[in-house]
């Protein structure tokens, strides 16, 4: 698919990690783990609103 105009929020994302990470103190542990869990759960919010629109 041709590249679309950039949007504030990419597909699959409600609150981007780049925005969330700014709110956190310096991560001393595994940042990748924190990011993955954030993104996985954030994606559920995306599913919620788009399924409301499309399925219900």
């Amino acid at each position: 698919m041709a590249k679309q105009k950039e949007q504030k929020r990419e597909p699959g994302v409600c609150i981007p990690w780049q925005e969330k990470v700014k709110e956190l103190p310096k991560i001393s542990g595994d940042e990748k783990l924190v990011r993955t869990v954030w993104e996985d759960i954030d994606a559920l919010g995306y599913v919620y609103i788009w399924q409301c629109l499309l399925s219900f």
């Binding site: 698919m1 041709a2 679309q4 105009k5 949007q7 504030k8 929020r9 990419e10 597909p11 699959g12 994302v13 409600c14 559920l44 995306y46 599913v47 919620y48 609103i49 788009w50 399924q51 409301c52 629109l53 499309l54 399925s55 219900f56």
Partner: protein
């Protein structure tokens, strides 16, 4: 049941499932299976057959699942949808969605749920809000659209409330519960009756979704004349999201197609010019993208899409299954049957009010004309609701099994 007999039954069901899956997939690849597959999209028909009201299968999804399984066990069908009634009004009520007429609350318990479209003035999206939607579709849906379509969700800047908070909490948990139920249902269909779950995932066209849930049909009719560039930009902004949602729900094994529900983008709801300008250029790339990932799309072409068959013929071979509602099935077969599998085309009116012998005659003609080289799946024209006659559905099923052997 003795252990050995249970094991034997499980083995038989798995064998039946494998045969049916092969039959269904072969036809969808526009090839010739051992016999014509049967894949009826049975919605409120399941309630009628299993002894439930429309209210029961709409408001209690476990009853809807049970009714679908009961039909799958009693009819020799290759594939069904786990719950073709689909909308669970327990969920939509928890969220506070305004646009449903719910059986047993707003309408008779024996009438299927209805969508209520607001007047043009009350549309959920206002005509001057296109830029907000285009800039950030997900943000727009959460911040503007959801508060408007819900009785409970507070608009941005308004005080929150218990009902607001509960709408998200209950709605989110209920949706997860329901979607998880589909996985369980697919497994039960497989093990109890050897039946394939017919589709996986959902797609709607950008142009359609603007009419269905945002501007309303009349609003969009106005917009294509008064602000066409905004309509096109909005369709383009929705494309990556609709593609993402479709792919994220697709069958990981790439056997069954993504369900694509086609509503009012065709002539005469819109002109050919509008189809060419808005509908097709913002849908075709989505289908091609999905196909590049190895997934087919089932075009559930509600209404008559005969004016657009040449456009669909532009798509890659086998990338879609074209379901016939009011489109002339013989024209469809002539125009796109060499590229795509065709399904449906048995009129719902006939299945509701005709006699079984007339159903058999109609099925015979369709099988002889459309299914000769494979690439056809037996089904009604539109989803089967509680007006469908059980004897006619039995006639469609049994005749196809008798006559549809290659």
């Amino acid at each position: 049941m003795a252990e050995s007999s249970k094991v034997a039954q499980e083995r038989d069901m798995e064998k039946l499932y494998t045969q049916r899956l092969k039959r269904y997939v072969t036809a969808m690849q526009n090839e010739k299976p051992d016999m014509v597959p049967i894949r009826p999209f049975v919605a409120e028909f399941t309630a009628k057959y299993a002894g439930y009201t429309c209210q029961e299968v709409t408001h209690d999804f476990e009853k809807a699942f049970a009714a679908a399984r009961r039909c799958a066990a009693d009819f020799d069908w290759d594939a069904v949808v786990g719950n073709m009634v689909y909308v669970w009004t327990g969920l939509t009520q928890a969220i506070g969605m305004k646009y449903y007429a719910v059986p047993g609350i707003d309408i008779s318990p024996d009438t299927g749920f209805q969508y209520l479209e607001p007047s043009e003035q009350q549309a959920f999206m206002k005509p001057d809000e296109y830029d907000k939607l285009i800039e950030d579709p997900t943000g727009y849906l959460f911040n503007v659209w959801l508060p408007r379509i819900s009785t409970d969700v507070a608009a941005m800047g308004e005080p929150t409330s218990l009902r607001n908070n509960l709408s998200f909490l209950k709605g989110g948990m209920a949706m997860l519960n329901y979607f998880n139920g589909f996985g369980r249902q697919a497994q039960l269909l497989r093990t109890e009756s050897g039946t394939v779950s017919a589709i996986s995932g959902i797609l709607k066209a950008p142009f359609d979704i603007i009419a269905d849930k945002l501007r309303g049909y009349l609003g969009l009719v106005t917009d294509v004349m008064e602000r066409p560039e905004k309509v096109l930009a909005a369709c383009e902004a929705l494309m990556p999201h609709l593609t993402h949602v479709a792919l994220s729900g697709a069958d990981p094994d790439k056997n069954v197609p993504i369900g694509f529900w086609m509503h009012r983008g065709c002539v005469p709801f819109f002109s050919q010019e509008h189809f060419d300008k808005f509908y097709w250029p913002t849908l075709r790339p989505i289908i091609e993208e999905i196909w590049s990932h190895g997934h087919q799309v089932l075009f559930y072409a509600e209404g008559d899409w005969g004016a657009h068959l040449n456009a669909f013929a532009e798509l890659p071979d086998k990338s879609i299954v074209f379901h016939v509602d009011k489109t002339d099935i013989y024209e469809a077969h002539k125009a796109i049957g060499h590229k795509f599998c065709i399904s449906g085309g048995i009129p719902n009116f006939l299945l509701s009010y005709g006699k079984p012998e007339h159903v058999r005659e109609y099925c015979k003609k369709v099988i002889e004309t459309v299914a000769g080289d494979g690439g056809y799946i037996m089904d009604a024209s539109a989803i089967l609701q509680n007006d469908a006659n059980v004897e006619n559905i039995r006639a469609m099923t049994e005749f196809t099994r008798e006559y549809g052997i290659y």
